[in-house]
Symmetry: C2
């Protein structure tokens, strides 16, 4: 394949946060943001490292309330690798004059590199080259390199290579008033061969995390053995040494890091395994080569190679699409198979959304199903393991079957907050997002599509069918028969459009008869009937007995399939929910003029004492999602059985979508 490379030129403090997110390197097991190895968390930089599914819960007392949040934990920063001219300040982009700055993210090879030429306040000129990778072959390894050349100066420099477990969760501005100290120090000590070991644990979920790092110095091919000493603090360890830097002679410093946690399989103890892994890792170059090999295998399966380039675009669209794939593979990869992790909406790239699992897999699985369906299976197993919790949630609200949470983290309870702070108004407002029960249909849909692509009957028999039927039971018990309309109705829910979480003037949260929700519920029930037929009789009987599914419940499903209520506008267009046509038109022009960026209209309106609930506005596709998920023929079948007309609008052609 091509070498897909993203190049940033010039250092831009304002852009740095975004760059760090887009330059995150990961392997499905952990991910590290693209902050420089000299960077500390401040107003510009945020070096963060995250474990797939590495959560911890903390309680904050704030404005008289106790708020518990489950966060994706920022684990110790393994990057620190910096230098200074002896007796002077450590290198920092702030303190030097930058002459050249070029950062490259090589998607093909999975490496991030940076070249900085700078001059300090004594006119000493240096060239600094950094390179790093998070190993795609061995998920426990990563490495970072620092090459340094002085252009016009010789003298002693001091180098510091550290593992920093003093980090906190501070990546999201609006979470800053919440508790953020998730790590407790356990051990910081030198180990065999001049390496160092740092062990910490999360203070509530008690995940033990061990990082071991070696740091070696080379001048050309020659390994140098400078004297070194360790700085050991609680939750922090550094190896410091002094080098002679000769004018125009490049010094190379290579740091190899191994990361293990108490949740890993096939370990005796995470610290012991981390030390062993560094000892056996081989050289930076050897690791780099096996890393390339692993990426090359992945790209062979995943590269998007469509000829849609217009000469003036210079392959832009393909590059962007492969950037999506690249970040997807950092979040979920073949290493996901051995974990108990879901796929979070923002990757393991930072702290936004707290690494929670929403419904985004719906958009991701189509890509995985045809390339490495084992990953889909593994991510569906994340759901299966949380089926008991989803059953409990359904029961607690008086429903049957399983009700998966809108936000899922460690153990599958609902992680959505019941109230949240609007940073614009500084008011606590109710958060009804948990009413997005449609996440359940998404899970069922994903099970079905995975089965269709793979014919994996073993999964269906042992895991998929049970989840699917329990979700069907949930919808079956959610839908309430209304004798006035002779239709089944679903109330107190939210559709995918998060600008509408209750009807204006209504006391109760949620909406009634959201079309997306209702149609998906019907689809789930229809497929549940087919699924029951697909199972071997033995297994069907066994499973129905296990979950207590009886014929009368199935008979009810058959009625719902024919009599679910869908609301239409006068012109035959499907209405988003009951009463949508009574909402006001929104003054788009006026608000665009007033606020410029109106992406978070919800916050703008709330700060004005208003709410998007009153208007015909939409945060994202809602009823339209149906046309994303199904060909029109399938939708027509559903509507025909419901005895509703479906206005058929020709689909736009592919070229105009792209």
């Amino acid at each position: 394949m091509h070498d897909w490379i993203f190049v940033y030129t010039g250092f831009s403090p304002k852009e740095e946060g975004l760059r760090e997110a887009l330059c995150t390197l990961g392997n499905g097991y952990f991910a590290t943001r693209g902050a420089g190895p000299e960077a500390e968390a401040d107003d510009i930089h945020y070096p963060g490292t995250y474990l797939a599914g590495g959560y911890n819960r903390l309680t904050t007392k704030i404005a008289g309330k106790e708020i518990e949040n489950e966060d994706l934990v920022n684990i110790p920063n393994w990057l620190p690798l910096n230098f200074r001219i002896k007796g002077e300040d450590w290198f920092s982009l702030k303190n030097v004059e930058i002459l050249t700055y070029r950062q490259e993210l090589n998607l093909t090879k999975g490496i991030l590199s940076r070249l900085v030429k700078f001059q300090d306040n004594k006119q000493r000129k240096f060239t600094l080259i950094n390179q790093r990778f998070v190993h795609m072959g061995n998920p426990h390894l990563a490495a970072i390199k620092l090459n340094l050349i002085s252009e016009n100066w010789s003298g002693e420099i001091e180098v510091c290579s550290a593992l920093d477990g003093k980090v906190i969760n501070a990546g999201v501005e609006r979470y800053k008033s919440l508790s953020s100290r998730h790590l407790e120090p356990l051990e910081a000590s030198p180990v065999e061969g001049g390496s160092m070991l740092l062990k910490v644990q999360t203070n509530q979920s008690h995940i033990r995390i061990a990082q071991c790092a070696s740091t070696h110095v080379y001048s050309g091919n020659q390994r140098l053995e400078p004297n070194f000493h360790f700085i050991e603090e609680k939750g922090y360890i550094a190896k410091n040494f002094t080098l002679e830097l000769e004018k125009q002679v490049q010094i190379s410093i290579e740091k190899i890091m191994a990361l293990y946690t108490s949740r890993d399989h096939a370990i005796s103890e995470c610290g012991l395994e981390a030390v062993k892994a560094v000892r056996r890792a081989g050289s930076y170059l050897e690791l780099l080569q096996s890393h390339f090999q692993a990426w090359s295998n992945l790209w062979r399966r995943f590269e998007i190679d469509i000829n849609i380039t217009r000469p003036d675009e210079n392959g832009y669209k393909e590059r962007v699409m492969n950037l999506y794939i690249f970040h997807l593979l950092q979040t979920t990869s073949p290493h996901t198979l051995h974990l108990d992790a879901g796929v979070p909406s923002r990757g393991w790239h930072g702290e936004a959304y707290r690494g929670h699992i929403f419904w985004d897999e719906l958009f991701i699985f189509p890509t995985l199903n045809y390339r490495l369906p084992e990953i889909t299976r593994s991510l569906l197993m994340y759901r299966y393991r949380r089926l008991p919790e989803a059953r409990y949630a359904a029961e607690a609200e008086g429903f049957k079957g399983a009700m998966y949470p809108w936000q899922s983290g460690s153990n599958g309870r609902e992680e959505s907050q019941r109230i949240h702070l609007n940073p614009k108004s500084e008011r606590w407002i109710p958060d009804n997002s948990r009413l997005q029960r449609h996440v359940n249909s998404a899970i069922a849909y994903n099970i079905w599509r995975y089965y269709q692509v793979t014919d994996d009957m073993e999964f269906l028999n042992f895991y998929g069918a049970e989840m699917f039927l329990e979700i069907a039971r949930f919808w079956g018990s959610c839908a309430v028969y209304n004798p006035n309309s002779d239709r089944f109705e679903i109330s107190e829910i939210m559709g995918p459009d998060e600008y509408h979480d209750s009807f204006p003037g209504s006391d109760s949260p949620g909406l009634k008869n959201n079309a997306y929700t209702n149609v998906m519920a019907v689809w789930v029930l229809k497929k549940a009937l087919i699924l029951l037929d697909l199972l071997a009789e033995d297994r069907r009987i066994e499973l129905c007995r296990e979950i207590g599914l009886e014929q009368k419940e199935i008979d009810r499903w058959k009625k719902i399939i024919k009599k679910m209520r869908i609301i239409f506008h006068g012109d035959g267009i499907i209405s988003q929910f009951e009463g949508y046509d009574q909402l006001e038109e929104f003054d788009w022009e006026g608000y665009r003029k007033k606020y410029g960026d109106i992406q978070r209209l919800d916050r703008i309106l709330e700060a004005e004492g208003d709410t998007p609930n009153r208007y015909k506005v939409s945060k994202q596709a809602d009823v339209l999602m149906l046309f994303y998920l199904f060909p029109a023929e399938r939708l027509e079948e559903i509507f025909t059985e419901l005895d509703y007309p479906l206005r058929r609008i020709p689909y736009p052609k592919m070229s105009s979508i792209i």
Copy 2:
């Protein structure tokens, strides 16, 4: 199916250890020995509870040596549930006159019960009924019940229900001089609803273990609410309460226990999950019913129902065979699928062999492959996760590919001791058992048979082929060409027969050209060639590149297949190893007379300053294993290609084997 029940009548202190092992209840996740709820570890009883794959390493200084052992840890005892007449001694079998004693292990339902009628030294008569189960549906739950009737006395009794984390590993007599304290206390505290929580962790592998238990009392259907108090000690918690016992009125005490560890999936924190699980568990009776349901599903797949009963045997053989299946399912079950555990030679039923994984899966998988092959797959994944360690072991001894250890535990390093103590002679003697490299062929054989039964190409592509080829490479590099004989030879190994670990008079450990090892190596290499053809070209190229397998290595395999050396006796019978025919005949008659039980002939001879190496004796099938693993036709193919004659002896008929 029938209700298969094993009944023990009468209490037999000498037999109790064996009974406790045979009455172990487990569910693949954990297992608890059949000791009574009043029993403490002493010279008669040994209440032990073990997690599947719950290992910890300890070092012992003994006779000037530092010995490190990895043990299967005896985790806290959740059974304790006892009573006493107020102010007197706690009930103990030692202090009463036993009138009736009947213990029943119900295989069909997975319950252990015991009825004891006894009279104390004041002529007070009681009937005590215990029942327990380890839940087969929810692997984290277990429960135990105590029913008590006083025949001729009324008065106050005191009840104690405890979780005891002060236990040590003391189940094996000859390990007793070794370090045995594996647990550190973390927390012992009352929790919501009158339940209690105990948390401990293993002191080296840092597995956190949480047990939560509720204890409820009933008189008939009526729940009693006696006053209670907790006894909280380091690593121990008990709930004590006082009850009025009325003459001839039965009191029922039900204890429900939830067990979680830090290694579990889908948890936030193990203590929190254990408390939650007890809160949501439902009643003893509800749990019992869902437990029956789970066993009934298992038996539908696993029951051995062959009509081989002779009237005089009363179904004995079927009962025994289903007892084997029962214990197999307690060691490895559908719950194994979510663990990283192998299948140990003695189950999770006690501390013998330290719960290590040998080659026994070779004998177990045929049963699993046709009933729940997913379990086989999961157990093979235990091996796959330890492939890097096996590769390292091969490299460390100068071989290619992967060399799996003879004894495998937590992280797949070789857990066999290099020396061990002969309890008969009290001498430390070298232990060469690690030279049983044939464990590698067993793993390859298991992969192949699993594939043959299931056609699971996904497993083969992603895991099985890699392990298989790496094992083939190991044999390819083990076999050394001898130009004198124009044959390849394998030295310094042991066959399955552990009575022969070196040749008499030789300085070097191990044997040369063990027929079983050599033939299995040839079989592995032959199948490796077929396997390479089975893989899709893309995957084959990718995999060969990943493991560095080149054509010249494959060419060497082709030579070995034609020229491996097998030793024959003069009469054409395959010799166990090179030089076997020079060994002395053993004086069976004399030794039987002298020692009676000569099962551990190795220890007897070593104590005499002799060794079984000198004799034609065998601990277990060695060359004969070939005829267990293959039909004669397959063996003939192998020997024909090797240009050796194979004397064909007709197989015994099935009826005479059984």
